[in-house]
């Protein structure tokens, strides 16, 4: 590893803040591209049921697409019902749900996940790299991670959010007296 990077590694990186999400359910889904439309179908059906999807990421390797998304824990019963219900497109009653649920390799559901959002990332590969390196060394499980225009959203175990923020303190410097923001109220869109 580059010595210069090691020297940077000794310094803390200043950030603006950390935010925690509400409790989420984390769903990973595998498809074969481009023939398999089950992920797009699933996202469409979540929208039809007015289920918010605050996190999505995907990537493709050869013919396999790996897609991850999160929904609020309070919406999970709706997702379960949706997977068991007929599609609105008139497909066989549970073709999609059977395809997804019968093969654990295609759909992995992880309960009790929380998103730790750190901002701003300033498009810094050093910040990303040091966080991933630190989590790897500390045994912190990253379920998934994705960047937005200014933030780094990391999905970890919900019960570990405080611990993860504490561990991050080894490499990031927060404004004085900053404590991670927690959602104090829930915004829910109830109609179009």
């Amino acid at each position: 590893m580059n010595e210069c990077y090691r020297e940077i590694g000794a310094m803390k990186i200043g950030i603006g803040g950390i935010k925690f999400s509400e409790e989420l359910v984390h769903i990973s889904h595998r498809t074969v591209v481009p023939a398999d439309s089950s992920f797009a179908d699933l996202i469409r059906r979540l929208a039809e049921k007015r289920i918010n999807v605050p996190f999505v990421c995907s990537s493709v390797y050869d013919d396999a697409a790996l897609c991850t998304f999160c929904i609020a824990t309070t919406d999970f019963p709706s997702l379960e019902r949706l997977l068991a219900a007929p599609s609105t497109l008139g497909e066989p009653a549970d073709a999609l749900s059977s395809a997804l649920l019968s093969n654990p390799e295609h759909l992995k559901i992880t309960q009790r996940v929380g998103t730790l959002t750190l901002f701003p990332h300033r498009r810094s590969l050093a910040l990303f790299g040091r966080i991933v390196e630190l989590f790897g060394q500390s045994g912190i499980i990253i379920h998934s991670l994705c960047t937005s225009i200014s933030a780094l959203a990391i999905n970890v175990d919900y019960h570990a959010l405080d611990l993860v923020a504490e561990v991050l303190g080894k490499i990031v410097e927060l404004p004085e007296n900053h404590a991670p923001f927690r959602p104090e109220f829930c915004v829910r869109q109830i109609s179009t």
């Binding site: 797009a40 990421c57 810094s124 050093a126 790299g129 991933v132 390196e133 994705c146 937005s148 225009i149």
Partner: protein, 165 residues
């Protein structure tokens, strides 16, 4: 206490849509046990002056992770490729792939994270138009979509069905 506010828009209004071309998309699949190693490798790219447009990292299986890196267009593309490729060659059970050139579309909107249907509005038009999405990231108030060369303009036109730029 519950407060209900009413707001209606026929299409999802966003602050703007931006495209970038001539980028390279790097994908790595590696053992979870090597997470710290790859964090160090990717972090060291900053020394080369590289920045990123998009990164996502997912658990690919019980033992592997899949990292997708889209660096910003820069003069260090050859160095980035060489460092990642060399790292992958020396690691066991590690796969590495570059897709180049690719194009990026991104848009930002108000309160995406609180509203249902945003992901569907972003993914469905491209799926319907059979434009493969090589990588995507929807978090916070942003939607990022990576498509093949010469597909961004078409993808942006498709997105105008569901978004007002």
């Amino acid at each position: 206490m519950e407060t209900i506010a009413v707001y209606w828009e026929p299409k999802i209004r966003v602050y703007g849509l931006t495209t970038r071309s001539g980028l390279s998309l790097y994908t790595l699949i590696f053992p979870i046990a090597r997470l710290a190693y790859w964090g160090g490798v990717v972090g060291s790219l900053e020394i080369k002056g590289s920045e990123f447009e998009l990164i996502n990292l997912q658990t690919a299986s019980a033992t592997t992770m899949q990292l997708c890196l889209l660096p910003a267009q820069d003069e260090q593309a050859a160095d980035v490729r060489m460092i990642l490729e060399t790292g992958a060659e020396h690691e066991e059970a590690t796969c590495f792939k570059v897709v180049t050139p690719v194009e990026l579309i991104y848009l930002h909107g108000p309160h995406f994270q609180d509203r249902y249907g945003i992901a569907d509005a972003a993914l469905r038009p491209l799926h319907t138009a059979r434009i493969p999405i090589l990588s995507a990231g929807c978090a916070g108030t942003s939607v990022y979509l990576v498509v093949s060369e010469n597909r961004a303009e078409e993808a942006a036109a498709c997105l105008s069905e569901t978004f007002v730029f």
